[in-house]
């Protein structure tokens, strides 16, 4: 039994290492400063992913600004006050939404934002990412808050603290590192999304700082390069993939540090 599970573990690790190594080998040759700051250019004239990195960063930032407070708020509600039919309904819907393929979220946002505005935009892209993020953050927040021992709440209540203060300055800080972990993991998750951005943010060949315009993103740029006919494009796709994987790896390492408890 131990042997079998150990072999499964080795198999999983091996695949992961192979993928990472392959990306690194294929990608590293095309990476240089120009590639990191240039905008895409016609094939053969070089070009890079600077605007895509910026677009991904901006959309992830806006998505986080929308999704994190709503997700955490919903999670707190579910954990502290959600033992009723409404809480159960929200929980069920959140779990369903987590299981929905992200392309469907893209189509949804396309219908309610892109069509009325008759334009793809960074905002629509960020909104799809936020919608993907909210249920994940809500459910991890709820779980983390439920882990805070009852005795700690009672200790605060016994000092005359009203319920909202117990939640706000005892339960939330006690669950903070867990909540932060969930948040970072959800950010890592959305920064790898492609499908919902294809409909909503589309792409852009330029540096764009405004959310009402189509916006480039790393993932869509990878998709474009990878599906192009030329070998040089494929190389750039690998290089962009390496950057993206590096960023996600970085987020995961930050999560590791956050989960080390302070108190």
């Amino acid at each position: 039994m131990t042997m079998l599970t150990a072999m499964c573990a080795i198999f999983a690790i091996t695949i992961l290492v192979i993928i990472l190594a392959y990306i690194a080998v294929r990608g590293v040759s095309a990476i240089n400063i120009e590639f990191l700051i240039d905008t895409p250019k016609p094939v053969g004239e070089g070009g890079g992913i600077g605007n895509a990195i910026l677009g991904s960063a901006l959309m992830t930032l806006l998505a986080t600004a929308i999704g994190l407070p709503i997700g955490i708020g919903a999670g707190v509600y579910l954990a502290e006050f959600g033992d009723n039919w409404f809480g159960n309904t929200v929980r069920f819907l959140a779990d369903t939404l987590i299981g929905v393929p992200s392309i469907i979220v893209g189509i949804f946002v396309y219908t309610i934002v892109v069509l009325p505005m008759s334009r793809q935009s960074g905002f629509a892209g960020a909104l799809s990412l936020a919608i993907i993020m909210i249920p994940i953050v809500a459910r991890t927040t709820e779980e983390m808050i439920r882990l805070v021992p009852k005795s700690m709440r009672e200790g605060a209540l016994a000092l005359g603290a009203p319920q909202w203060r117990v939640t706000w300055n005892i339960v939330m800080p006690a669950a903070a590192s867990g909540i932060a972990t969930g948040a970072m993991l959800s950010i890592a998750r959305i920064s790898g999304e492609t499908a919902p951005l294809l409909f909503t943010a589309l792409n852009s060949r330029f540096y764009n700082y405004f959310f009402d315009q189509p916006m480039a993103s790393l993932t869509v740029q990878i998709y474009n390069y990878a599906t192009g006919p030329f070998e040089i494009e494929h190389q750039m796709a690998w290089a962009a993939t390496l950057i993206l994987v590096g960023l996600i790896l970085f987020i995961n390492i930050v999560v590791r540090f956050l989960t080390k408890k302070k108190y």
């Binding site: 005795s151 700690m152 200790g155 209540l157 006690a174």
Partner: protein
């Protein structure tokens, strides 16, 4: 001395299960009263009636009268926050907050806005820690995490935290049951010291402990109050046969 707490014909239910049966009891001011009895007999439940901690259990129900300083604490217009400030509680398992030592003690002072300045806050924290006989051990590490303290220190920290809001009654639910003999002795000495200023109700499963520190002892069994008497009488010449059997160890 007068009675601080008066309970009359108290019945308590967890849903359909009755946990306390027709309990009437007077607890005198500035004394230590010990609750003893086999586990599951309702000692904790009764203790938590006295600061309305059972309010957090939605299916709990109470009948009868509980008066503190002559006021019925289960009246609709009772200020539960004020009640809990007046009736502090120390739990079986020490439960410091995930904060620094200082912030643990300051918590109740802050939420009840009892301090006039930062200096005043620091003085109140110091006083509470001194009253809990913990000051000397922690005065150089106030900003460090409360989880760095030993079990016994954590429990005294929880006592300091309760003292900081200047309660009049302190409820203690087996506060030393998880501690080693030396830490237990410190808690016991502290209880004896504290009764000069506070009315103390302490649940204990340790008969010697009850005998050592309490002025009166109440013996519970199966949700009923069997006997309450001055501790000395209780342990030498109890009125009830059940009490005698329990104390002499025939029950457990």
């Amino acid at each position: 001395m007068g009675n601080k707490i008066t309970v009359k014909n108290l019945n308590f239910f967890y849903g359909k299960d009755q946990a306390l049966f027709d309990i009437s009891l007077k607890i005198p001011e500035r004394e230590v009263m010990a609750f003893v009895g086999p586990s599951g007999c309702g000692k904790s439940t009764f203790l938590r009636v006295l600061n309305r901690m059972n309010d957090t259990i939605p299916y709990a129900r109470i009948e009868g009268e509980v008066k503190i300083d002559g006021k019925d604490i289960y009246k609709a217009k009772t200020d539960v926050v004020a009640l809990r400030r007046k009736v502090g509680m120390v739990f079986q398992k020490s439960n410091p907050f995930p904060k620094s030592i200082f912030d643990n003690v300051a918590y109740g002072i802050r939420i009840n806005r009892m301090h006039s300045s930062k200096k005043d806050l620091a003085e109140r924290v110091e006083k509470a820690l001194k009253d809990a006989a913990l000051w000397e051990e922690v005065k150089d590490r106030l900003p460090t995490s409360a989880f760095g303290l030993s079990g016994g220190q954590q429990q005294r920290l929880c006592i300091a935290r309760a003292l900081a809001v200047q309660p009049e009654v302190i409820l203690m639910d087996e506060p030393a049951s998880a501690l080693d003999p030396i830490a237990t002795q410190k808690i016991e000495e502290l209880v004896v010291e504290l009764k000069k200023k506070y009315t103390i109700v302490i649940v204990t499963h340790n008969m010697q402990q009850a005998a050592r520190i309490s002025d009166r002892t109440a013996f519970f069994m199966l949700g009923k109050l069997i006997e309450v008497n001055p501790t000395e009488k209780m342990f030498t010449n109890p009125d009830d046969k059940l009490t005698e059997d329990y104390i002499t160890g025939r029950f457990g």
